[in-house]
């Protein structure tokens, strides 16, 4: 990467992405009268102080239910959304305030795959042009050379014969094929880091592993790092190396996959684990003791934001927000119970 002005922070050579105290508050549009009558501004606190780092070559998963802020976090890293506060580091360089022009160079290294294979491809662009377009945008290749690179990348993602797929429009492809095309577009610039935002949730169940396995294979062959975003903890278990559970904009638990799944500590994580359906008729179901529903992100509960639903809530949970602290090396939890 060309030298770009930016702060260098604590050196950690294997760290590819670090996020510090990231916040994203969306202002709530108020009606005319409400604006006249009330002074206070209301915000949807989509991401509320998230900090974590992603190691080179790993699959780091952000998991949680809808509205927890996981997608927004992914987009914040890629600067598709601008943060309200907080910093993002890429290869130890602060990219938060980088100029648009300078960041354009970074964009080659940071890519994204979206959830909806039907919406993430321009309906009016043939696959060949859509996949090759990034090369044109960055002035890296044109014409025959571009075509060659497109063919190569389509081969890699399994859209063969490439020449045939290049001439098709998105509507002529199946969901799984479209997702592969979207991956090809993301990969053609040879990125280092890819945010995969629910990449398989809109694909037929029996075909999901083809995409997941492809992602893992590409990681090996191309040296990629993934930030995997999902609400499906079963898939998360299959693909992740490390996982962070998010609730209402905050990370409540984080650690190595095996550790989190075999030893979930935060009550929310535990509730999630219990709720996941298991393909086994003999499994004994325990019902969830979780009360109520996820509160609105506009009115976040005081203290620990989970206290309104937590079966173990105490007085102090209403008053103070717990910090994300390591209960053992590599396993972090944000819960007062673990911090007596």
């Amino acid at each position: 990467m060309s030298p770009v002005p930016g702060r260098k922070s604590k050196l950690n050579e294997t760290e590819i992405i670090r996020v510090e105290h990231l916040k994203k508050y969306f202002p709530v549009e108020k009606g005319f009268l409400e604006r006249l009558l009330t002074r206070t501004k209301k915000y949807v606190k989509a991401v509320d102080d998230a900090s974590f780092s992603v190691q080179r070559g790993e699959v780091f998963t952000l998991a949680g239910e809808s509205g927890c802020g996981k997608s927004t976090t992914g987009k914040l890293i890629l600067r598709l959304v601008s943060p309200t506060s907080g910093r993002v580091f890429f290869n130890q360089t602060d990219i938060t305030d980088m100029s648009k022009e300078a960041f354009r160079l970074c964009r080659r290294r940071l890519q994204i795959i979206f959830q909806d294979p039907y919406a993430s491809l321009n309906p009016r662009m043939k696959i060949g042009r859509a996949v090759g377009h990034p090369l044109e945008i960055h002035g890296l290749a044109k014409g025959a050379e571009e075509k060659e690179r497109v063919v190569e990348i389509l081969q890699r993602v399994g859209l063969t014969p490439p020449e045939q797929f290049m001439g098709l429009y998105p509507y002529q492809l199946s969901g799984g094929q479209r997702q592969r095309a979207a991956m090809a577009r993301a990969l053609i610039l040879a990125p280092e880091f890819i945010v995969a935002d629910e990449p398989v949730s809109m694909i037929d169940v029996s075909l999901r592993t083809t995409i997941i396995d492809l992602m893992l294979e590409l990681r090996k062959d191309l040296g990629l790092t993934y930030l995997f975003i999902t609400h499906d903890l079963a898939i998360a278990k299959y693909i992740s190396d490390r996982i962070a559970i998010m609730y209402l904009g905050k990370i409540v638990e984080m650690g190595e996959k095996q550790e989190i799944f075999s030893n979930p500590i935060h009550p929310y994580t535990q509730a999630l684990m219990v709720a996941i359906p298991v393909p086994n008729p003999k499994r004994k179901r325990t019902s969830s003791e979780l009360k109520g529903e996820v509160p609105s992100a506009i009115n976040i509960p005081s203290g620990c934001r989970f206290h309104t639903r937590c079966p173990y809530a105490e007085e102090k949970c209403k008053e103070a927000e717990p910090e994300l602290i390591a209960v053992k090396p590599g396993h972090l939890v944000a819960c007062h119970r673990t911090q007596e």
């Binding site: 890629l78 598709l80 994204i112 919406a119 321009n122 309906p123 662009m125 990034p134 945008i137 577009r185």
Partner: protein, 286 residues
Amino acid sequence: MLSSILPGLSTLAKRGLAGWLIIIGAIFVAAIVVMTAISPWIVPYNPTEIPSSPKILAQPSTQHLFGTNDLGQDVFSRVLSGGGVMLQVSILSVIVCLAIGVPLGLFASYAGGATDRVVGLLMDSIYAFPGLVLAIAIAAMLGRGVVNMALSIAVVYIPSYFRVIRSQVLSIKEMSYIEAANAVGAKNRTILTRYILPNIVPSIVVVATVNFADAILTAAGLTFIGLGVPVTIPDWGQDLTNGQRLLTSGAWWVITFPGIMIILLALGFTLMGEGLSETLNPRLEQ
């Protein structure tokens, strides 16, 4: 050229009713265009010359298929050659609208914020006026003639383009493929031209066809109140104006035949518009 048109026609016909609407509408329009174009060679009489011994208000007969008007001019010849003004006005107004309305709509709605609000306000104020009244006011200011008619119609119509484009752009802006284009580093200009514009073309086409039809009727209206073309040019609009006066004397043919032609031309465009909106929209919803 014909060999490429025929397969196109058969694809259209396969699309059922919508396809037929386009075909029929296009036939009307094409027929009138061709008719007007070759009129100098096929008119039985000179449409604008006032004959020295005029046969005034003659009823339709074998000599004068559609009769004659109060100046002795052959109505049939005037019908054959009088479409030119309408066609020119409508085509010109559509061109102006496309040239101004499309970029305006694209930039303002993509930029959002204050730009969008200001331009939107301007467009809404124009839109609030009854179209014909505004067109009359502008044409009165600009004067007579094909170009001025086209301009006044264009001004009235640009807000319609703006609205349609704006609503499309706003919904497309949120789509993942636009985000993906951003993620890949595309500049705004590229996104507008390669990603957004191609996807709003269907709606623009539909508005344009309605524009055509509306322009024709408005041109007739403008001519009616005297803001049209000089009498040296054959024009259906003039015949309408003239013929309306003559109705009371029982000469129904002077107004009827040009009137039918105007309706057919406007109908042709309308049918095409209907058919196009049917065919262009569902295809994208595959």
